[in-house]
Symmetry: C2
Subunit: 249 residues, 2 copies
């Protein structure tokens, strides 16, 4: 795979994750990595592995997932991109594809990620983007959510916000920004950090929404963080409201 003839490509990918079982390749299920690999394997004539910046869960979307793959082809980057967009389904788009340095690794070299969680807080029904937002049946207390979010920023052990109880590696992560804002009838929660644990953004969102609904005091979030117990945090917010916005290198 790493022979003299292969070239390492970097690509930026958008996808509507609604009908996929997440990013990671699975034997009999549609996944984003699986779709990308099958299209590139046909192009290449032999198996191509696509390495993503991270894994998104089933039903989670991406506007700018980044990945790399090594190919042996005479096509130009623009031709590879056009080929992929032609053979990929409508809900996956390659937005950019360039030659990367041979050492570029989409996961190891990623230094930051931005996720946005979107909620609908209006009085109607979000008919046109209903697959990309979570509908709230209450008017959230934004100020309380912002107060609570402050406790989640920094370098912490986020074990209470991880859905994998058997996680053996470190659960310490660095989250440098959590921004909570409203625009018209949408509530956006932006999470930026160097990396996130399994379901971490969705559990942080579910917990902040408990605060926004008045079911939890903002200060309680600090205790939950320090308690390292997943059962104390809020529910995992639905996948469809979550979108990977970009990966920093």
């Amino acid at each position: 795979m790493n022979s003299g003839k292969t070239i390492n490509y970097k690509m930026e990918i958008s996808y509507d994750g609604t009908r996929y079982y997440g990013w990671e390749r699975q034997p009999d299920r549609d996944t984003i990595q699986g779709k990308l690999e099958s299209v590139l394997t046909v192009l290449n004539g032999s198996f191509v592995e696509v390495t993503g910046a991270g894994r998104t869960d089933a039903g989670v979307h991406a506007r700018k997932m980044t990945a790399n793959a090594r190919l042996e082809t005479n096509l130009s980057p623009d031709e590879i991109k056009a080929y992929m967009n032609r053979y990929l389904p409508d809900d996956i788009s390659i937005n950019r594809l360039v030659i990367a340095s041979d050492r570029f690794h989409a996961r190891y070299n990623a230094v930051g990620k931005l996720y946005t969680y979107t909620c609908y807080i209006g009085d109607e029904k979000p008919v046109f983007d209903r697959k990309f937002v979570t509908v709230l049946d209450f008017k959230p207390d934004i100020e309380a959510m912002r107060q609570a979010a402050v406790f989640l920023v920094g370098t912490h052990d986020y074990k209470a916000f991880c859905s994998n109880p058997k996680m053996k590696k470190s659960t310490v992560r660095y989250v440098d920004q959590i921004e909570i804002l409203t625009k018209k009838d949408r509530l956006y929660l932006n999470f930026h950090g160097t990396g996130f644990l399994q379901n971490m953004v969705r559990i942080m969102t579910g917990t902040l929404l408990e605060v926004g609904a008045g079911n939890m005091e903002p200060g309680r979030v600090r205790e939950i963080l320090e308690g390292l117990d997943r059962r104390e945090a809020g529910p995992t917010a639905p996948a469809k409201g979550l979108c990977l916005m970009k990966v920093d290198y």
Copy 2:
């Protein structure tokens, strides 16, 4: 149905028309009118007819369709609206519901309609709104389209732009504005008029896109209009790019 106890309600409706066989009620198929009538009939306890401002084709969307219906209920308008939104599927929303004068008729009283046809003209794929845009595989000549659109504005016999060859009533209509604009990687065609014939907006769009693709001179559109022959006009543009934006009263 028009007994002393009934009240006439006016409602504004958004829908994603993707999975519907259009507005008009049909025996064994999902339609927007059919869905609205079945929810209101349960609420009312007897059959309720919903009168729309017009009929949209299968696959066409609406941001502000207007309709009226007569109900015999003790619920307030806000309660009726909440009931409808609860029992209607996710892809139909009642955005406004108010008591109307007893004589209000959504079709007869409509004095204007605005339709927008949206095309995607970027180099990527419109992953998130792919069900609401038509992807063009060429860069349209906007100026040529605008020149051609001038011929379609005014009071004319639009027989060449009507898909119903057996139309017995008048095919004369008044179109007061056709606006063609681009914003980022979207092309918008806005059509405002007092009323439109069957498929008229989609055939005008298909014809203007022929001009935009360089397959037809702008002046040819005038000849097509004057020729009154559907076969001379361009193809009917796909339903999914079309949306009824508002109805004027």
